[in-house]
Subunit: 471 residues, 2 copies
């Protein structure tokens, strides 16, 4: 089965000159996700220039029941933007729709098209002396449309929320080709169901987000960054709570990292150094930002660190004295994903639990995976300020990579069962896609699954939008 | 038409002893909303004690196609909780479900049942040294279930968002009686559509919210409050932007008020006084809160006021020197709604526009309503930090109240057309209910209305949940 030539011809015409390719060499990078877990096939990659073209494309697909896989920067890690291998799906890239439509510093709003990279969005905000606070590792290549469709999280959620919280309005093309103009720039608007919330985090299964009005914030005048050695994850969580209180809720990042993660970074990433003289078991990277002037938050950060040391919530602490030092501390955290690669196979998790249960989760998961795979190396790190930890498991030293990775599902099950048992989530920020679709059915209650299917059927009755993803 | 006795009997049994009344004297207060704009009829008021009883009630209503009107504190002002006069709807009060189920200071979460008053929720948070930041005039009697169902706004939205932004999870009974347990306490959870967003702001048309997990925040250690005389609404908006920047985004309230509003308060509310020696045309009430210790934000507030005076964005300013002084300033704003009553009939509006267009809106609306009703008295006030203004219009002095109020729809149309022309909303925070249902059809696009109807049909196929409201 594939897409009929007559349909392909109509779709290409709709996308316009330069708006499509059937060259499999050009299409190839769009058929695989970054970790190589999923591959698929598609005869056609569409790159429409504007919303009207997307609308025409979707109308044709609706009429002809042609399946569509929307794609942003293709940086998602759950196969949500990868077609299946039937070759009967067309790829719809939003990459060419990358204009900044409007920016208003007084409104603190930015209107952008879906194909803008996150970095371009951040830059547009900065050029108006404003902050767009979404910050994730792939910001140079991911697109804001993808960020919205997956409700991206990242490192600033504790203060600014997930992507969902940063959106005032969207424009979306529905599965039947109609355009919903929900591009409102209003802080308050109680006129009916908040429909944008369905498309945000909807993983492209309900329609195509083509543009959005984003919330901007004042650019922080001061940023204080510290690395703290903490005696345990539990102490880290106490420190988090203390920090929010002592800084007037200006904590903007709180990342936890196990020693093994720091070892990996120091071993594999050039020009990194341990900020402490002694080895410690756990580290917290803390950022406080805001304030009315440079240095304004330094007393609060110093007070926090002193109090933490006094109360035994910290063993040692390093406060960055310059932007360069702050960046060096962040690098230890941000390069951790890459630093795992030379250590062999790594089985990934992206779980969340209520913040108060984080230490319990880490302890239980650690015991459980070591029991399942002797000598495996759990590398817990992540956004524990949000109860979100990437509890990745590196292979035993010297083990066979393929044999280890073959246990992916088995390890996932153990870790996800523990998260679920602590009222947690099996996907905190990366979404469901293809990777966790079947697991979702296992962990979600029947009522919620029914509700999701009812919404899907109501908005996409022909089931052409990113089929087989999420629901 | 009414509800068959056999159905009434089953519903009473489901609600249990003390869980229902058919006494029309007891039911009467539930049949009218606070402003008296809407009245209705119902043979039965149900007050179930718990979620299981709500589920049984809804299952019976689903089976028998009996219409249900959920009700919280009955403080909404758009008729959303008032039955129609056919007498074929049963009232479902959540008032008895008023337990605090759990509070966790480390998680910063509070799990409450729908019938808790907002004041009780605030108090529960405070007892754990935390803040639940929703603040609205009716907080003593409105319920959190109603706040969620209407996505209440209030005075702290600029910093903390609307009710929608303060909710992590909900428990809801669906129209067919199934219970959806979405009571998650997670800061990040990307596992499918964010279904709670449909029920929040859904005005009880999709199901019954029975409980919620709310976000808590550190209790601010410092609060600075100032009243500023501003030369114009446009200057007020500039001051808002300046204030967010100069305080490290710790501005938590920014209310604008026209002089006539202050005059009403000084005339009708005992023990109030003009904080300024001179008369001014416009006032902004500014609150900055947060900080690590009492007084921490005073320098920032002083710097803001000085800068505003230097730049001509302020004509005069009063900074509260005590909690009592701050409360006195807030009273001038909060008593304004009541102070309008002795001035005769008042035609209400609850519009929002993008913040940058607020001054334009006020200017245009002022001219338009004065042209329509000579000598009428516009009283603009509200949460302009969110682009939300209650542009109420008091009757001309000495005019006939009933004759003036008969022009309600006509005045609404003029004001709402101006808001819509500025990309605004006809209901910023009060919702649609019965009051604005027909207007909604006029102002919303066809695509959005279709989407809303599709969602309604998917979740409530028998149309028994609060029928005739919103959609």
């Amino acid at each position: 089965m594939t897409v009929a030539p007559a349909i392909v011809e109509r779709l290409c015409a709709a996308a316009g000159p330069g708006g499509w390719t059937m060259d499999q060499h050009d299409i190839a990078p769009h058929l695989v996700e970054a970790r190589g877990l999923f591959r698929g096939a598609s005869p056609l990659l569409l790159k429409p220039p504007d919303t009207a073209a997307v609308a025409t494309i979707m109308a044709i697909c609706h009429e002809t029941r042609t399946k569509v896989v929307p794609q942003g920067g293709n940086t998602g890690l759950v196969g949500g933007a990868t077609p299946f291998d039937g070759g009967d799906e067309v790829l719809l890239s939003l990459a060419r729709m990358n204009r900044v439509r409007a920016i208003d510093a007084l409104d603190n709003t930015l209107t952008v098209e879906a194909g803008c990279t996150l970095a371009a969005v951040q830059q547009a905000a900065a050029s108006a002396d404003r902050l767009f606070p979404l910050r994730i590792a792939s910001e140079g290549s991911c697109t804001i449309g993808g960020n919205l469709s997956t409700n991206a999280g990242g490192t600033q959620v504790i203060r600014y929320g997930n992507t969902r919280d940063l959106v005032l309005g969207i424009e979306a093309v529905l599965p039947d080709g109609r355009v919903w103009n929900g591009l409102r720039a209003l802080r308050k608007d109680n006129t009916g169901y908040d429909l944008k919330q369905l498309f945000i985090g909807g993983e492209g299964t309900l329609g195509v987000i083509t543009a959005a009005v984003l919330k901007l914030f004042p650019r922080p005048r001061d940023v204080q960054t510290a690395m703290v050695a903490v005696p345990s994850p539990a102490a880290g969580i106490e420190l988090l709570s203390l920090g929010r209180g002592l800084t007037g809720d200006q904590l903007t990042a709180f990342e936890l990292m196990a020693r093994i993660g720091l070892d990996f970074v120091l071993r594999h990433v050039p020009a990194t150094a341990d900020p402490f003289r002694d080895r410690h078991d756990w580290y917290a990277l803390i950022e406080v930002s805001g304030g009315d002037s440079p240095g304004a938050l330094r007393p609060a950060m110093e007070a926090l660190l002193e109090t933490a040391l006094e109360r035994g919530l910290a063993v040692d602490a390093v406060l960055a004295e310059s932007v360069a030092q702050a960046q060096a501390l962040w690098r230890l955290r941000e390069d951790l994903s890459d630093a795992q690669k030379p250590e062999g196979g790594s089985i990934k998790h992206d779980i969340s639990v209520p913040v108060s249960r984080m230490a319990d989760f880490i302890a239980r998961a650690d015991v459980a995976v070591r029991a399942l795979v002797p000598n495996c190396r759990p590398v817990a790190f992540g956004h524990v300020g949000d109860g979100n930890v990437h509890f990745n498991v590196s292979q035993p030293v010297g083990a066979d990579r393929a044999v280890f990775l073959a246990r992916w599902g088995e390890v996932n099950k153990v870790v996800h069962d523990i998260a679920a048992g602590l009222d947690g989530s099996i996907s905190a920020e990366h979404g469901i896609g293809r990777l966790k679709r079947d697991e979702l059915v296992h962990y979600k209650g029947a009522v919620e699954l029914d509700l999701m299917r009812a919404v899907k059927a109501a908005l996409d009755p022909r089931g052409i939008m990113n089929p087989g993803k999420m629901v």
